[in-house]
């Protein structure tokens, strides 16, 4: 039954593709920021060390990275609450027609997962490409650092996916556990 839930989820994600645009953009922007900061961190630190600011800059980079990571988590949460609200009625219909809670939750987790994955990958790709273009054309004097980029991409994808799953699972579980009449009449 969970498998059926997942295939319903994939179907609904395909059909609701337009609704994914905003979450993907938000996740991509957050991922872009994170990858940018981490990929340039290496060379920024080296330059700073030559000017005598090494430790301070290192700490500043850590601070900014943590903040950007948190921004990423929160914006994913904002998007997923929006989606769950939109689909409350759908959850009510599924419940009213007797579909069990587990497949409903599985079905509704597919869309945020896909949005987070696609968004994080798109954002990372743009950041990586942008970094190379900027340093190749000489616009930026700092060049991207492979190790930092890899860490950045892994973090961006990992954090986005985990955040979206956690923030959608709870409200969906709650909505699917209520008597369906509440979800049906709450509109949206």
């Amino acid at each position: 039954m969970i498998a059926a839930g997942l295939s319903y989820g994939m179907l609904s994600t395909r059909r609701r593709a337009r609704e994914l645009i905003l979450p993907i953009i938000t996740t991509a922007t957050g991922a872009f920021l994170l990858v940018q900061v981490l990929s340039l961190a290496g060379s920024v630190r080296r330059q700073a060390a030559s000017l005598g600011n090494g430790t301070e800059i290192y700490r500043a980079i850590v601070l900014i990275s943590v903040v950007v990571l948190l921004v990423g988590v929160v914006e994913v949460a904002v998007c997923t609450t929006r989606t769950v609200t939109q689909r409350t009625r759908e959850i009510g219909v599924l419940g009213a027609t007797g579909v069990r809670r587990a497949p409903v939750v599985a079905a509704l987790l597919v869309e945020p997962l896909v949005a987070a994955l696609v968004g994080a990958l798109v954002g990372s790709a743009v950041a990586v490409a942008g970094g190379f273009v900027l340093s190749a054309t000489g616009v930026s004097s700092t060049s991207p650092d492979v190790a930092g980029t890899v860490v950045g991409v892994a973090l961006a994808v990992g954090v986005s996916v985990v955040a979206s799953l956690l923030t959608s699972a709870m409200p969906t579980w709650r909505a699917a556990s209520r008597p369906p009449i509440r979800s049906l009449s709450s509109g949206g």
Binding site: A4, A96, V99, R100, L184
Partner: protein, 250 residues
């Protein structure tokens, strides 16, 4: 559009004595701000198989609330509801869902179709998550759409269907699981008179030829005309219970 189901007189399935639904001294109370609203007051009701029962009353009379109790969409504050012999108080939410799934089909005033699924997919929805044969399911869904006269609209999404067509799709959906009981909450409220009449006749024919029991809540007198039993409600109470069927009471 004429009815596609042959409704012969006396073609109803033989009645058994076991009621499909029994509600005994059911109360439903809500908190609204500082007030307590009595949606249902000491409602007792029995519905026998094959009946087309109609709950009639003005807004706020409790008819939809009672319907939701019977259908397992909500739980009573006090009192017992038996669906197909099972006391609903003993069921967890998950078991309740299972019961709804196997025994009850729903039709709502606002259709409640899933917007991104086509008509035939909406009809399949209740069984979409079961390990059934996809091909057989699709065929059964198409047959049901044919029954309600919508074969030509099978692949349209709800946005492209008229109100009457959406409601008929919802009726087809309510039948896919071969339920014993079909509950209709104000089925004709969003429809014009002509379309409403078609829907009501469809419901009546379901009773007589598909051995399904239908309970509808409405304030549309047209529905009451076609029903075999009319229960009038006011202020949360059942005030009258009239048998209108052409058959003698069991």
């Amino acid at each position: 559009m004429t009815s596609l189901i042959e409704a012969g007189e006396g073609a109803a399935a033989p009645r058994t004595d076991e009621p499909v639904v029994r509600a005994e001294h059911v109360w439903k109370l809500h908190q609204l701000g500082d007030e307590v609203v009595k949606a249902l007051v000491d409602a007792t009701l029995t519905v026998l198989p094959g009946e087309f029962a109609c709950l009639m009353g003005p807004s706020g009379s409790g008819k939809s609330t009672l319907l939701n109790m019977i259908g397992g969409l909500d739980r009573p504050t006090k009192g017992t509801v038996f669906i197909d012999g099972t006391d609903t108080a003993t069921l967890s939410e998950s078991q309740f869902a299972a019961l709804r799934h196997d025994t009850v089909g729903f039709i709502f005033q606002s259709y409640n179709l899933i917007p991104f699924l086509s008509a035939v997919e909406n009809v399949e929805l209740p069984l979409m998550f079961e390990p059934v044969n996809r091909g057989a399911l699709r065929q059964r869904a198409l047959d049901l759409l044919d029954l309600v006269g919508l074969s030509h609209r099978a692949n349209h999404q709800p946005a492209k269907l008229s109100g009457g067509e959406q409601q008929r799709t919802a009726i087809a959906r309510s039948l896919i699981g071969q339920p014993r009981l079909v509950l209709a909450d104000e089925p004709t409220a969003n429809l014009d008179q002509r379309t409403g009449a078609i829907v009501v006749r469809l419901l009546r024919d379901l009773c007589s030829s598909m051995s399904v029991t239908v309970v509808a809540s409405t304030h549309d007198p047209l529905v009451a005309e076609e029903a075999s039993r009319v229960l009038r409600m006011q202020d949360g109470r059942i005030v009258s219970n009239t048998n209108q069927s052409h058959q003698p009471e069991a």
